[in-house]
């Protein structure tokens, strides 16, 4: 081939499934605008609640002695956990060559990045003096003092910023070819418009040359491999916020892997829910197909079983050890004031997923999304039980106390879901939620494989542009 190689593979007038993907990006869509406004209002609520808290001191929360951590840390761990969706799908499935991941990678990575943005706000929100947050960062200061690298909170900062950076890169890189496609479309239809200029900027000069493709593939492959240990380390480090203390039922060696498993589990749940909403809202049945949901649900039930195993192991060893302080926490969890939350969690995280997803009908999109909602709630409860359940039952029982979240904490929690939604809605209006070039690549490989008589991907080149 010689001459210009166009990077758009379809003629603008063709009606393809891809036009479903491109529809949100062609102009204002009433549904998306409405969604952005509603979630935008929640973002405004976030500003209000957080501003109120800064103005009237952190005492406006329901925290107290001994519950020094409550909703904010629960939500922090929750959102960081949600962020593991992308890593599993894009990275692990990519590295292991699972082809069904292709339609799903981008919406999963988007969840990762936005969940990290939301979750990363929470350590700031929960501070007593948030305007001094930079004391925790290893930047040179006039005080000639570095942060305390012994502290798991400093590890958190380092880990989360690393993960966020990596995830943004990992989201941005595969966006380049798709931005190029959009640039070319918009240049053809409305060269002087805002979108044409936006996508020209975002595409960063992508021409689709073999060298560029090669660099892109290299970059994505490297990121995929790197991001997996980073993700594992992030949630391990977040779990070490608890495990590195000596509090009963926090100080447990199982926390690292337990939290990573829980994170992946909750991440898949959020992914299932998001996928279902996208499928229905944007008409993406072709891409987010029943088969994809089925495969994801199989992964989901596997994670449910692993999570159940870890939970069982943790509780059995505590029970057998019969150590006084731990049993006080354990009893509150199993049969005391936290029992309603604990058993709800067990039902939502183990009973429902296993019994529903074991059947093919249960792995249909709607069913699995509903199970996903249950798991999201269940995993949130798990974090709450761990954080508040231990703190309420201190070793010196004289100082036990209860915790009631205040309206500020509830408001911030709800508005953070809104922030997540808002970021997602904005993203939907500027980037295709299914990676166009990856899906095409997958189709091409399958087509080639059929032609040659094998299902193995043999060639990794883009189809001929016409």
């Amino acid at each position: 081939m010689s001459g210009q190689i166009h990077s758009s593979g379809i003629k603008p007038t063709e009606q393809t499934p891809e036009s479903q993907l491109l529809k949100p990006l062609g102009g204002p869509q009433p549904g998306l605008i409405l969604g952005s406004l509603v979630t935008g209002a929640l973002v405004a609520l976030l500003f209000y609640c957080w501003g109120y808290q800064i103005r009237y001191d952190i005492g406006v929360t329901g925290l107290s002695r001994p519950n020094f951590w409550g909703f904010y840390i629960t939500n922090f761990v929750f959102w960081i956990g949600i962020s593991h969706a992308g890593t599993l799908i894009s990275a692990i499935l990519r590295v292991t060559g699972a082809e069904w991941r292709r339609p799903v990678t981008r919406c999963a990575e988007a969840i990762t990045v936005f969940a990290l943005c939301v979750g990363g706000l929470l350590p700031l929100i929960h501070l007593g003096r948030p305007w001094l947050f930079y004391y925790m960062m290893p930047i040179p200061s006039r005080n000639l003092l570095w942060p305390n690298f012994n502290s798991p909170l400093v590890w958190d900062i380092l880990a989360i910023t690393t993960y966020l950076t990596g995830s943004v890169l990992y989201l941005a890189l595969p966006l380049l070819p798709d931005f190029a496609i959009l640039r070319d479309r918009n240049l053809r239809s409305n060269p002087s418009g805002f979108r044409a200029r936006l996508y020209s900027l975002l595409a960063a000069g992508w021409r689709g040359t073999p060298q560029q493709w090669h660099s892109l593939e290299q970059g994505i492959r490297v990121m995929a491999i790197i991001i997996i240990p980073v993700a594992v380390s992030v949630h391990t480090i977040v779990s070490w916020d608890f495990a590195m203390t000596l509090q009963p039922m926090w100080h447990s060696t199982i926390f690292g892997p337990y939290f990573v498993v829980g994170a992946i589990y909750s991440g898949i749940a959020m992914l299932l829910v998001t996928m279902y909403i996208l499928r229905r809202g944007l008409g993406l049945q072709q891409y987010l197909s029943d088969a994809v949901f089925n495969n994801l649900s199989l992964l989901f039930i596997a994670m449910a079983l692993i999570w159940a195993y870890f939970t069982f192991a943790e509780h059995l060893t505590v029970f057998y050890g019969n150590e006084h302080a731990e049993m006080a926490v354990y009893n509150e969890r199993i049969s005391g004031q936290f029992a309603p939350y604990f058993w709800t969690m067990i039902v939502l995280n183990i009973a429902v997923p296993v019994f529903v997803l074991a059947f093919r009908a249960g792995r249909k999109p709607l069913a699995s999304a509903l199970v996903g909602i249950g798991v999201i709630i269940g995993m949130w409860l798990e974090r709450y039980i761990i954080v508040v359940g231990t703190l309420s039952v201190p070793r010196l029982a004289y100082t036990s106390g209860g915790y009631q979240p205040s309206w500020v904490e509830i408001g911030i929690m709800i508005s953070l879901f809104g922030l997540f939604g808002f970021l997602y809605f904005m993203f939907l209006q500027f980037a295709p939620i299914v990676s166009i070039w990856e899906v095409r690549e997958g189709e091409h490989i399958a087509h080639l494989g059929k032609a040659i008589g094998t299902s193995e991907p043999m060639l990794r080149t883009m189809p001929e542009e016409s």
Partner: protein, 776 residues
Amino acid sequence: MRRRDFLKATTLATGVSLLEACSGPEGQYLVQPARRKPGSPLPGESTWVPGMCQQCSAGCGIQVRIVDGNARKIEGNPNHPVNLGGVCALGQSALQELYNPDRILVPQRRVGDKGTGTFEDTTWEDGLTAAVETIARTSPDRIAIIGADRSGLTGALWRRFSEALGAPAPAFVEALELEVERRAAQIVLGVTDIPYFDVSHSDYVLSIGSAFLDRWRSPVHYTRALAEMRRGRPGRRGRFVQAEARMSLTAANADEWLAVRPGAEGILARTLAGILLSSGKIENDNAARYRKLFPEDPPRLEEGAALCAIPAKKIERIAAELAAAENKVVVAGGSAAGHQDGLFNVAASLGLNVLLGTLGKPGGVFAPASFGLEDGIAPKTEPTSMAELATRLRGEGPAPVDLLIVADADPVHTLPASWQLHATMANVGMVIVLSSFRTDTTLLADLVLPLNTQLERFDAVAPAASIGVPVVNFSEPSVEPLGDARHPADVVLAMAAALGEPIASQFPWASFPRFVEARIEEQLEQLPGSQGMTASAFIRLAVERGGIFGEEPPSLVPPGPLDSTILTSEVTNTDAREDGEYPFLLLPFESIKTGDGRGANRPWLQELPDPMSTIMWNSWLELSPVDAANLGIQDGDRLSVQSSAGSLEIQAVIDPAVRPGVVGMPLGHGHQDYGRYASGRGANPLDLVEQTQVIRTAAPAWAATRVRIKRLRSGALSRFGRSYTNEEETEDIPVGWAPQETSRYASARPLPPDLTQGTPDPGTTELPVVKRRRLG
């Protein structure tokens, strides 16, 4: 204008405006004049000024830290014999009395309806004029004076004043049990005031009813005495048994608590006496003296044990321990005095000292000691009792009351509501209240004259609770007075002077310090350490030291024959009255936080958790888990409590140490308006107490009221520690339990080497014999 003046003016103006600018937000910077008086402290430098604590009648010696003219901290005076450097919670909080934002600092005149406490500022001149005019035109038999300082110099001035006016003797408001205790001491020991119990040198202390570590008599002194009894003599640890109807802080600290049935304290004492008498271990002289006091046969062991609800074997053991101890003492008083046969209870308990021969012996009972500074100021007539005055106020006395002066007391809050003081005082034509705060009594005033507080005044006060040796505290002001408040004695002197002859000549002293100086002058020879000094020099010395301290305890003369019919028990058991309508006995008690109520306006004390219930900012009703279960009451529930005299609403605390059938409630709350920290908070148990009196006295039987309880709705209390819910904590402790073995506080491994170096010094007094023993 000349140039020089112009420059000066502009410089001054600039300087002033710069100063204003430099003063920062809310006076952040302290602008100091360049010149200061030589010898005055630098900014930020501390000086320590000796003083006396007047938060209760114990009279501890303190020192105050002054920085930049403000009092910052109160510490004990280590050389003062009452407290030896210790300060209790109430004493520490005195600074919040001094700097209380709701203090009355200028005289007030009533402008609204009586009882609403609507006042406007007035001047001392106008106030005193109004007071004196009223006194002058009121018939003396219609004047009534209520004071707080029964046995001190200020009280003596009030007594002199009422004598000069021809008015009836003043009445004094004091702790509810004191009258009965005094009477019992008079009968049993022949002394005029409550004796001193030498706990620190004792080997066995049996306290019947007297919560001497709570707010009884001299808590700081007795706390130190108990500490010395336990750990002050190496190898010799005294034993302390508390027989009390409820588990007070004192009972909680006892080696053993005898949960005697309320009202049966006297029976317990008499039963013990019976065992002792028949044991053959009592000296004949002592037995004879005892029998003169109590000629009746003591109750039989089984009968006595049943009546006071203590197992017979336990009573036998206590008697044996008492007899066997080398130094012993029986402390008596407190809640035992609050029942109808309170006089019998206290007298019978005190009588055990006579039986055991502890009078004047180390570790025993000593006569109250006093320098008698107030002798001769006023006639020795008995003060009017508050009960009698209450009768007069109700219009049932010989003459109504047209003028009432209340000096530094709060009778409306600290006496039972059934005495109707609130309503009857409101009917008095003119009520003059000398007070710093809007107490329940102050709200009824027509004229309020503000009093200064302990750190702003010169004073000379003898501790009301004797510590065995005579003591008089002296203090000078340690801070500039806030506002325009005065000492109550100065108010008396000012009124006397304004009344003119013939009264003024009986008060020839220009001020209270002059008066004290005159007294000291008269008695100089008798006062220790005064040789060769003038009165004013001696007072200087006394102020520096904190007071005048005697050395020798007066001897205790064993009592002669007395009218012993006073002491037979007429009512054996107040809660034997089977009363279905009022099934519970109410036991009010003084909490260490609020005392008689004066501490309620201090945020430190309101936020201080009560040591037993851990409740903050409120009062409560404590009931036993058994009663709570029967009534379906949970911890914190709101209850309605009713007696035949009144009712109130209160919240419940479930307390495992409460006797079934009995409920307890702390005094000190339930003020109508005592400042922002106290007003409308909690309830006052004295609203429920009936008008019953202790037999043969004019004192209220404040522990003899029965109540019924109704649950209103659920609620929650501000609690600092965990409520009693954990059953683990009630495991029976096996016999021979050693704290190290089972307690979760125990050390599981030996102490690290840096704590076990060196050898113990055998000369140190506080150590038991040390054996280096590995634990665990």
